[in-house]
Amino acid sequence: MKVGVLALQGAFGLHEQVLSRLDVAAVQVRTAEELAEIDRLVIPGGESTAISKLLDANSLAHPLADRLASGLPVLGTCAGLILLASEVVDGYPGQRCFGAVDVAVRRNGYGRQSESFSASIEVRGWESAFPGVFIRAPVIESAGTDVEILAELDGIPVLCRQGSAVVSSFHPELAEDDRLHRWFVEQE
């Protein structure tokens, strides 16, 4: 199995580090050729406007849409959630969102950096809490009926799954805890 990390901008290096702790060799994805060779994809945190524009600049938007439509397993964190959402409320004109998970998100919905925070997340079916780190994080404002909500914080979904796509508004790559990555690479 070959796991790719979208390496246009953001915390892709941290995702690679977590995956390497799990003995999973990850490759950086910047081109359509690199995208074609992977079996799973991580879309990291970063600035979603920048990543969206770089997807266009590197001619990756259409190939990525095609692979997502054919069920490529994907994990999107923070900016990755925005890119995988079906709607960006108050979004930037022309902002890419691929609709892999039927959620509407609001960029920076948790506020500016002064309101960035850490909090314990109770994930359904997990024995202990996961350390969630939220950096200028997007808020999931609504989720469609096909979306499985795996964790909430104060009544708001923060970890969701639909089909083979998993999205979080927090940054598992900033935590010492590798359970979410392990679960992502081990899921069927």
Partner: protein
């Protein structure tokens, strides 16, 4: 949401402050002086903007004392864009920093580009919820800033010159010393700490991890996509572009080209493509002819 319903949220932790720097990696942070320029930067794919009244090239030309920007212009820029907004405080001027924190900026740059307010002390950055970036010309300076609470280091270069030579010197100095420290034995690390005038635990951390405990970006003199590629290949994790964009003949395409160069920094074909037809870069200055060396500020 009420405070009671906010289930144990911790703000301003080191992880949260360094975390934002992690999210900016591979990106370009652009100096802007108006909301219109901020929009141009955002449209080009900047990951953040630095709001200031004058770009370094103009500060250098005008002389006099350079201070924190007017809160009104910072607020105007915050309202114009959705990406993070940074602003500069003078070295040691902790009240300017308090004001910038009250304005809810996303990062404070304790910057040598402004006229220093304190000739011995930098700001105690642990005392703030907002994260700080500080400049450094060598590893000792970087580790002293980190010991004071900086959550991001930028190599200083020589701001406002459009000349990359100092940025390269500073990056090579910092990264070269990191490489040497990873080869040092435990006894030699005491001497390294002394030589660098840096805390021993931080020197040991660098020896163990082979990198700084915070992200290191590059600033000062970047004006072309090739410059961005150069400093990224040397090891910078993102770039600041000050005067290089809005002092060039045609800022918007240059901004976009530098953004694409920072992502594709190892691909000469893409660098060649994005470098085409950008018009005149900012006029450059020879370092030997400078009256003021901004990089010398900081202790």
């Amino acid at each position: 949401m009420t405070a009671e319903s906010m289930s144990g949220r911790e703000t301003g932790t080191t992880l949260v402050k360094r975390g934002l720097a992690e999210m900016l990696k591979g990106g370009v942070i652009m100096d802007v002086v108006t909301p219109e320029q901020a929009k141009v930067a955002e449209d080009a794919g900047a990951v953040a903007v630095m709001a200031l009244e004058r770009v370094p090239a103009d500060i250098r030309r005008d002389g006099g004392v350079a201070r924190m920007s007017d809160p009104e212009m910072i607020t105007g820029i915050q309202q114009a864009v959705t990406i993070p907004v940074m602003a500069k405080a003078r070295i040691g001027h902790f009240v300017e920093a308090q004001i910038l924190e009250a304005l809810d900026v996303d990062y404070i740059d304790e910057s040598e580009v402004l006229t220093p307010a304190d000739e011995a002390h930098h700001i105690d950055k642990w005392a703030f919820t907002v994260p700080f970036v500080c400049g450094a010309t060598n590893l000792g300076e970087a580790l002293r800033r980190i010991s004071e609470g900086a959550c991001m280091i930028r190599s200083k270069g020589e701001a406002g010159t459009g000349n990359i030579v100092e940025a390269v010197r500073h990056l090579r100095s910092i990264i070269g010393d990191i490489r040497k420290i990873t080869q040092a034995d435990s006894a030699e690390l005491f001497d390294w700490a002394k030589q660098l005038r840096a805390p021993l635990p931080l020197v040991r951390e660098v020896a163990e991890t082979g990198w700084l405990p915070v992200p290191m970006f590059c600033a000062g003199g970047i004006s072309t996509p090739a410059d961005a590629g150069l400093v990224m290949q040397l090891g910078a994790e993102a770039v600041f572009v000050g005067s290089g964009i809005f002092k060039s003949a045609d800022p918007a395409p240059r901004a976009k080209a530098i953004v694409e160069a920072a992502t594709n920094f190892r691909d000469p074909h893409i660098l060649a493509k994005v470098s085409r037809g950008l018009g005149e870069p900012m006029p450059g200055l020879e370092i030997d002819g400078l009256e003021t060396r901004l990089a010398d500020r900081g202790w």
